[in-house]
Amino acid sequence: MAASNLKQYIIVYLNSKKYGINIKYIDSIIFMQKITRVPGAQDYFMGVINLRGEVVPVMSLKKRLGLPDEEYGSKARIIIIRPEPQAACVGLVVDQVKEVITLEADSIEKMSYDESDEKAQFNAGIGKVEDDLIDLLNISAITRT
């Protein structure tokens, strides 16, 4: 099977529901750390962190997706995303990072949504893994702030 038909996703939990993030965007995954609040920022931004000497903004993925924003527990992680190879990093806070899965191109189903629905554009398709359905996230839309 040609490798180009395979896509790898990291499965994360948000409010105990599974979401997939394409691995090609991910720079690193770090533990939760102190986040410095930035006054006046968009409400889904939790603030900025110090990532190896760089200042990186961090957003609550739950808030960005319009989900109930409950406290992040001890399993919470920050996924450092690089939306484009040369772009600056941005962090997404998730409840838990579960595993890496490999999906074939034909097991990803595109969803048709109403264009005007802002939240819907965050979806990049539905991944079918055995009996499970995973909401694959559209990273470029999420990081387009």
Binding site: V48, V55, T145
Partner: protein, 711 residues
């Protein structure tokens, strides 16, 4: 020969020569009789021609050659300097600059022949020839080659007639210069030099026969000679030397203070020179007598001439000093700005690491001994010094930006038909390279504004009893941690009432507001984008064309701009720029439990003020500080952090923006810290008061507040 490796040097030197020409042409226009200026111009043009010929840029060479022809006529006193003439020469310079820009971009000079300018230059020459000069001179100017053969023929006779041998030297047959016939004006120059106690030396230079680039070699030899004196005649002519139309020897006549031995030494230092012979030149008594008389006559008719001559001698010395100074500064290395950026980033890292060590050492008890402290302090000193040193390497004198302005003002003066003069000070003030690259356009804009709208027409100035020649000032100086650039004019100033009226018409402000507004606030309207876009407003107010663009640019450089004006006396625009953008001294404060950094540059003082001293005027909190009524800004509210219980005394940091003061209320002071500026990126659109972030010694992040945006 592959000359591409010399391209960078060529570009740099050409730039220098062009700038030099620009400056001296401006002087020449003002002082047409200034000989040292003419000589300087001639030399620069000559070097340009030689360099472009060596590099194979023939169009450039042709244009400089024709310019040089005109300049040489001026130098020989056969042509007068006029404003039109200078105009054409300036056009020539512009064309040369265009060539250079092309060369820089594509390594080729392009296809533009600039026939128009060349024709104009040749017409000047022709016009001059038609009306003046003896036929002999005209022939000489056009056909030096003919003269070459002629001299060949008159070799024996010439020795008796024109040049007398000073000493009977054994190698006199090698001294071919003794057989060369001198023109009348050249003789005159020799006599004059004698009267000024200068030596006139003839020299014949023999190159080794294997010499490949004779043209370039002769050029180098002449440069070496010119360090010691002035070449008054070359044989064959300079053009023939450059075109390699000579065998392996040529002769030069030099006016100098030095002896022939010194000149020979200088020449022999150039490689591929086989031999050089030199001797003093003595004219026949007849020649001396007739020329002395002529010179005396000249002096009698124009006594000022003598005055300028001695002046020139002094200037000549100054110029000589300048060249030696230049040689000293030339001891430099070219470094790619990217490499300096890397170095700067590393220094930033070092400072963060140092801050980490400092904060850690204060937390750990075992490290609290004096010896350790000393080491830490030493480290602090070193990092601060490294930072300064690296910063300095990135600093460029503002001169490189402003030196094109005198020329621009001259052109504007003609274009607008207004008389004006530009006075510049502090050209040696240094700024970060990145700032220098960006500051040119805003400054140009302000100067144009001053020339176009600031200064009144000459007639009106006369009527008002002002000097009909308007003055524009460009002053730069360092003030603490920032650099101030001031653009000032002595025109009519900004018409406050007119701005108000137009602003009300445009709905920018209400009538009520207008009445309450102070002049300063009214002037600030000019910087608003909405205000400058309308042509109508521009016409009426006479200002505001793109002033918002200027302001945006300055602010993007971390600077600020302020306008001041006095009706009838003129207006000034004051730009304040930070010395460096990356590393800032700041005051660390706590507001609502969060740490923030305030750049020290803006801070005037820190005051502790009782709660009851705060008064409320028109819904705004103010304090009366030593007679100044200062508005109070509660940073806790603006930053939306819950300031705890209000203490009895408030800590107020007084910040200054231009001439305005404001008090910022903070909860706690931590102290002064050298911080590294980091952007918070494009994703977050925070409060505009937040200009960036910095990483503290313990790895925590503190946001940097741009309190200016609140004042």
């Amino acid at each position: 020969m592959d000359v591409s490796q010399y391209l960078d040097i060529f570009i740099d030197e050409t730039k220098e020569h062009l700038q030099n020409l620009n400056e001296h042409l401006l002087v020449l226009e003002r002082e047409p009789e200034n000989e040292s200026t003419i000589n300087e111009i001639f030399r620069a043009a000559h070097s340009l021609k030689g360099m472009s010929a060596t590099m194979g840029f023939t169009r450039m060479q042709r244009l400089t050659h024709d310019m040089e022809n005109v300049l040489s006529e001026i130098r020989n006193g056969k042509m007068k300097v006029s404003s039109d003439l200078v105009d054409i020469l300036f056009k020539g310079l512009d064309a040369l600059e265009a060539y250079l820009a092309n060369i820089q971009a594509t390594s080729s000079e392009g296809e533009e022949d600039n026939e128009e300018i060349i024709n104009a230059l040749n017409n000047i020459l022709k016009g001059k020839k038609a009306e003046t000069a003896t036929p002999a001179e005209a022939v000489k100017a056009e056909a030096t080659k003919v003269e070459a053969t002629k001299v060949e023929a008159t070799k024996v006779a010439g020795r008796k007639e024109n040049v007398q041998q000073a000493e009977a030297a054994g190698d006199s047959s090698k001294m071919k210069f003794k057989t060369i016939r001198l023109e009348e004006h050249e003789k005159k120059a020799i006599v004059k030099a004698g009267m000024m106690d200068l030596n006139v030396i003839g020299v014949t230079i023999y190159l080794v026969e294997t010499c490949m680039l004779k043209g370039a070699r002769a050029f180098m030899i002449n440069r070496a000679i010119e360090e010691h004196g002035e070449i008054i005649k070359l044989f064959p002519s300079a053009q023939d030397l450059e075109d390699e139309k000579y065998d392996f020897d040529y002769s030069a006549f030099i006016i100098t203070k030095e002896s022939p031995e010194v000149i020979v030494d200088a020449i022999m230092k150039v490689s591929e020179v086989k031999e050089a012979v030199a001797d003093y030149i003595k004219l026949s008594d007849d020649d001396i007598a007739s020329n002395t008389e002529a010179i005396k006559k000249e002096e009698a008719t124009a006594q000022i001439k003598l005055f300028t001559d001695t002046g020139n001698a002094k200037q000549g010395q100054a110029a000589a000093q300048k060249t030696t100074a230049k040689q000293l500064t030339n001891r430099s290395v070219r470094v790619d700005i990217d490499k300096l950026d890397v170095l700067m980033n590393l220094v930033s890292e070092l400072i963060i690491a140092k801050n980490g060590l400092v904060s850690r050492s204060s937390e750990i008890l075992e490290l609290q001994d004096a010896a350790f402290r000393e080491h830490i302090e030493y480290l602090e000193r070193v990092t601060t010094n490294i930072h300064e040193a690296v910063m300095k390497t990135r600093m460029v004198p503002i001169e490189s930006v402003v030196n094109r302005f005198p020329r621009m003002i001259r052109d504007l003066s003609k274009q607008l038909n207004k008389e004006m003069e530009l006075y510049m000070t502090g050209e040696d003030t240094e700024l970060d390279r990145t700032v220098i690259d960006e500051i040119g356009d805003p400054l140009m804009h302000l100067l144009r504004n001053a020339a176009d709208h600031g200064l009144e027409p000459s007639e009106e100035r006369k009527r008002l009893g002002k000097n009909p020649v308007g003055s524009i000032y460009l002053n730069a100086y360092q003030d603490g941690n920032s650099v101030v650039i001031e653009v000032k004019d002595d025109g009519g100033g900004i018409n406050i009432e007119k701005i108000k009226k137009v602003a009300i018409q445009r709905g920018v402000i209400t009538e009520e507001q207008a009445q309450r507004m102070e002049d300063k606030d009214v002037i600030d309207i000019l910087f608003r984008p909405s205000f400058s876009t309308s042509d109508k407003v521009t016409e009426v107010s006479g200002r505001g064309v793109g002033l918002d663009v200027v302001k945006t640019k300055i602010e993007s450089l971390g600077g600020e701009i302020e306008a001041r004006s006095k009706m009838g006396e003129g207006s000034s625009f004051i730009i304040r720029l930070p010395l460096t953008l990356a590393i800032i001294q700041s005051l660390m404060v706590v507001i609502g439990g969060e740490k923030y950094a305030l750049p020290l540059g803006n801070i005037q003082s820190i005051e502790e003020i009782g709660k009851d001293e705060i008064k409320t005027i028109q819904g705004k909190e103010v304090i009366n500080l030593r007679g100044n009524v200062i508005p109070i800004i509660r940073l806790g509210n603006i930053l939306e952090c819950a300031s705890g219980e209000q203490p009895k005394d408030l800590l107020i940091i007084i910040v200054k923006k231009g001439s305005r003061l404001a008090g910022m209320v903070v909860d706690e002071l931590i102290g002064q810290l050298e911080i590294v500026y980091k952007s918070i990126g494009k994703y977050i659109k925070g409060h505009k008061i937040i200009s960036g972030a910095t990483i503290l010694g313990n790895g925590e992040i503190a946001l940097i507040l741009d309190v200016n945006s609140l004042v």
